[in-house]
Symmetry: C2
Amino acid sequence: MSILVVGSVAFDDLKTPSGEANNVVGGAATYFALSASYFTDVNVVAVVGDDFGPAERKVFDGRSIDLTGLESAKGKTFRWGGEYSDDLTERTTLFTELGVFEGFQPVVPEDYKSSRLLFLANIHPDLQVDVMQQVPKPGLIGADTMNYWIERTPDELARMLKGIDVLVINDEEARQLAGVHNLVKAAAAIREMGPKTLVVKRGEYGVLCFREGERFATVSFPLETVVDPTGAGDSFAGGFMGYLASHDEITHESVRQAIIFGSVMGSFCVEDIGTGRLAALNRDEIHARYAAFKDLTDFAPV
Amino acid sequence: MSILVVGSVAFDDLKTPSGEANNVVGGAATYFALSASYFTDVNVVAVVGDDFGPAERKVFDGRSIDLTGLESAKGKTFRWGGEYSDDLTERTTLFTELGVFEGFQPVVPEDYKSSRLLFLANIHPDLQVDVMQQVPKPGLIGADTMNYWIERTPDELARMLKGIDVLVINDEEARQLAGVHNLVKAAAAIREMGPKTLVVKRGEYGVLCFREGERFATVSFPLETVVDPTGAGDSFAGGFMGYLASHDEITHESVRQAIIFGSVMGSFCVEDIGTGRLAALNRDEIHARYAAFKDLTDFAPV
């Protein structure tokens, strides 16, 4: 039982109403891997620069995360800076320095090719397709993308979408990709593009999932303190895919449970700056919040 | 088992992306009464002008709605015109003509004073207090309000809030009333103002409910076609309070069920312009959508 994730590992500079932090190890693959590692073995394919040493790797230490596929290239690690508005509803990108990420050509180590599941975090769709071709027969392929690729590389994105089973994107991206505002209609259109399952992340509002003959919807966990939304969506994806990787069968029921575990991981992620809370969890806390989700949303039939 | 609602009955001019309709009988008390009447007997206290005749009253005919308290005054019925953006996310008020509503002094008929529950729809908080004083001992008092009263009559609103059990408002109103963005914190602050139960409507996203030692959250029903959001919040309140009125005990469990029934009624309301869909429902459809809500949101414990 293992999952392979390809995506970014980065240094983030974060400005939030609760405080600032610089040079925090972040990136989609980082949040995804940390989150998924509570459920399954994680194999990481990513690139960092020569400024990313043993101290930086520590965030992955002592977990079921394999870094054989973390390439170290000459140059600087991808850097991103972001600032949140006081109510955390808006995020401004302060800078993006691609560094070694610009020339990234993912190479999947031989040992990774038997990974049960594959997740293509948000990178150029051509690279996502490339990785798919290197992994012969995963049980399930999930992917994320963003407005940048929807706008600039629609043909490449279309090819990627044809090859995957599950697309995990946010509601604005779903609307943009489908070209329609109504999410039920957007979901139908997107599922025609390839992925049989669409998972729509709605930030503080929750998650919608559309599959063949199946719809599932849930809320986000109400939190009194939200410190830093960075990585919440990737933590969701990590919990979601990680739980599926640890599960024998992928059924409507296990997908629903996976969405709740994803939501649990996203809710923990935002409680501290960067990966602070996500990295410090234990399984009891995760299961307690899953149970709290059940308590929060359950109601009796009539 | 009955509920008394005080609020507006109006003529609405509605411009939606799906079409327009003028002189539609609307207003908070109308949507509330129609919705609640599927669950309980409804007593209406409101005012209309002499332009509101038998033809207009027809929308209430053949239902468990008593109009003894619907005062007919000299002058024009309250009129409101609204236009929705293409994606229905924004609403512009085109005009508001208060008419007879301006001098409205609610008088509760003697027969209404034994109503089991009381709902104070969105009107001047002084009038809401006035009605509370006319109804000696309802089992539960619910109320709505809006940004207008939060901004302009905070002292009157504070008095009203002290007297009620349940406040049913939308998320932006909750934030404004509490002066804090985070809804968990806002809920705590508002519950200090009087209402022991706060129900927060989040439009297309769902509902949050905060009570002593209890939180409940649910989604909105995903719809492929949304025609007209007008009255959805009042239909929610009608289903919510109507179900509680029909129920012997008000418990955490019955409040959760009431929120789902409220959500069901709100989801039907938006499927047609004005009260079209809401007025044409039957109990089987309502119960089928309740069951669909359960299917949509249920997940297994782990």
